[in-house]
Symmetry: C2
Subunit: 325 residues, 2 copies
């Protein structure tokens, strides 16, 4: 799964002291010049490795990139993230997912996580742009859910729950979910979830579940125009370990995704509600066809929001913009 | 929209007598050798044109292919089929649609009809093969419906209604709809409808509505293994005019599609029910997750079938295999 350079990294990580090139060369059965080449490669991936002729190589700082190698150290899942693709910079992980989804066998890609260090054309709902500089967690999970198509947005809900839970557990920040798919800390947005699907009535060909979390990003690098935004680092006051956070997030998602596959939709809806800052609030909803106001009273087992309008009529909406009063 | 050859065809069609090459050449402002070239091209498309040095050119038989030029002669729609793509042979029109959907601007392709004379890899539900020899009507309609995603299968229902209505009006055959998406004459399947979609919660990126109708096909060329199959020509005893039928079908579909865009879901469900041979029948349903039996009692405004099981419980299914008892 990894290039040979990571074999060298493993050796360096296993020692607290410098390791001679000769030792590495013997351990891995490669030439000393190959060792040197791998060290250069690791440097280029952000690992700081000191090299002295006397003492040998020493890992002085690990890379702060969101490399699969680092995420896998923490990962405790059985499906989600077992396969990963990493891009330093890409238009968007969804875009990569679309390419893969078309060409490949979706069943084989089930659970694959596509990671981008930065996205140059990140996509939000309705094709809106999503600012995604280096330091965030920008991923797309490729899924082939064996569920009826009208349940597909339970996957989005499970993902929202997973993001909120991971933020709460990892950083003890009070993350909440705003319908349909945003995660807030206080009145500032910190993350978003977006599901794209290719399907027929009988079968979901594949889903691309996009997750964007503002992790280690100075507020000045985020777009505050549409909605107030925050990042984990801004809330915590320091940069956090993204690899550990992502591993946690994937684990939280997997456990809920498996509930969906088992038909436990109600459990997901219940947890979503317990983390929601929308339910019991007065909201204005803009859908493709209409705008209306009322009280958000519930979410159903399909992911639709139920709003009681002032005339008492209940509206059920599966998607839309939501302004909370 | 058409090649220059069809200009020559128009001239020939406008006359009941032979037309000299010189006359055509003058009318269209092209050389006589260009006229000859166009006549050869028309021949290759199945038009029989006699040529005599004395009298000139005469159209003796029109092509029996399902050429856009022929369909447009009959077409009375405002959106559906204004743009067409024609293929003599292609793996499947859905496959073509996928290519176009990815590359192109779905909004601009809204209403485009992709026609194949024959499909070499026709696709039915769940990726099952769909036998599609020359003589059928194998089309995919590209749509970008501005409707909530949970209403998308109303488009399939509208298409099923349109196929049944077109067969009834054009040929006076008693076509009925078997849930979810098959058209039957008596106990033999004559057509099928399949919807593929690419979407997010807020927006349908595009739909590919596949319609396959066994029109002028000898029964021996159809696969009778899975379910008894018939064709229009087998029912009528002669080959029918496919271009006129397709134009009718597109018109029937368009009027119902516009109802969906207007939010008149109930009207579609009502008409579907009036043409259904499934409602009030005892059925066995196989879904991805379960198998159960009961009485099909209704269809809802989302396209889901409601089945009353023997224990009185109502099941709602959006998709599945249906065996009618």
């Amino acid at each position: 799964m990894y290039t040979a350079a990571f074999k060298v990294l493993e050796v360096l990580e296993s020692k607290d002291e410098p390791v001679s090139g000769e030792h590495i060369s013997r351990m891995l059965g490669i030439s000393r010049s190959a060792v040197w080449k791998h060290v250069k490669e690791l440097n280029s991936m952000g690992y700081e490795i000191s090299a002295s002729r006397k003492e040998g190589y020493r890992l002085t700082r690990k890379s702060n990139r969101l490399l699969p190698y680092e995420v896998h150290k923490h990962l405790r899942t059985s499906i989600i993230g077992k396969k990963m693709r990493y891009f330093e910079s890409t238009p968007s992980t969804t875009w990569i997912g679309r390419q893969l989804g078309r060409e490949g066998n979706a069943r084989k890609m089930h659970g694959m996580v596509i990671i981008a260090e930065e996205q140059t054309g990140g996509i939000g709902r309705l094709g809106r742009s999503w600012v995604s500089p280096a330091g965030g967690v920008w991923i797309t999970i490729v899924l082939k859910p064996a569920i009826p198509i009208d349940r597909v947005f339970m996957v989005t809900m499970a993902a929202s729950v997973a993001v909120a839970r991971a933020i709460r557990k990892e950083f003890e920040l009070g993350a909440l979910i705003k319908w349909p798919n945003d995660i807030f800390i206080g009145d500032r947005k910190v993350a978003g979830v977006l599901l794209e699907l290719s399907a027929e009535a009988d079968e979901i060909h594949y889903c691309l579940l996009g997750l964007g979390v503002n992790v280690n990003i100075p507020l000045g690098k985020l777009d505050q125009v549409k909605v107030p935004v925050t990042s984990i680092s801004a809330e915590m006051g320091y940069d956090v370990d993204r690899a550990s956070f992502l591993a946690r997030l994937l684990k939280e998602f997997e456990s809920r995704y498996l509930l969906i596959e088992a038909g436990e939709y109600e459990a997901i809806a219940r947890e979503w509600k317990s983390l929601s800052c929308t339910i019991e609030r007065r909201v204005r909803i803009n859908t493709m066809k209409a705008t209306f106001e009322g009280e958000a009273i519930d979410i159903d087992d399909f992911g639709a929001l139920l709003i009681r309008k002032d005339n008492g009529k209940i509206e059920r909406v599966i998607a839309g913009d939501c302004i909370q009063r």
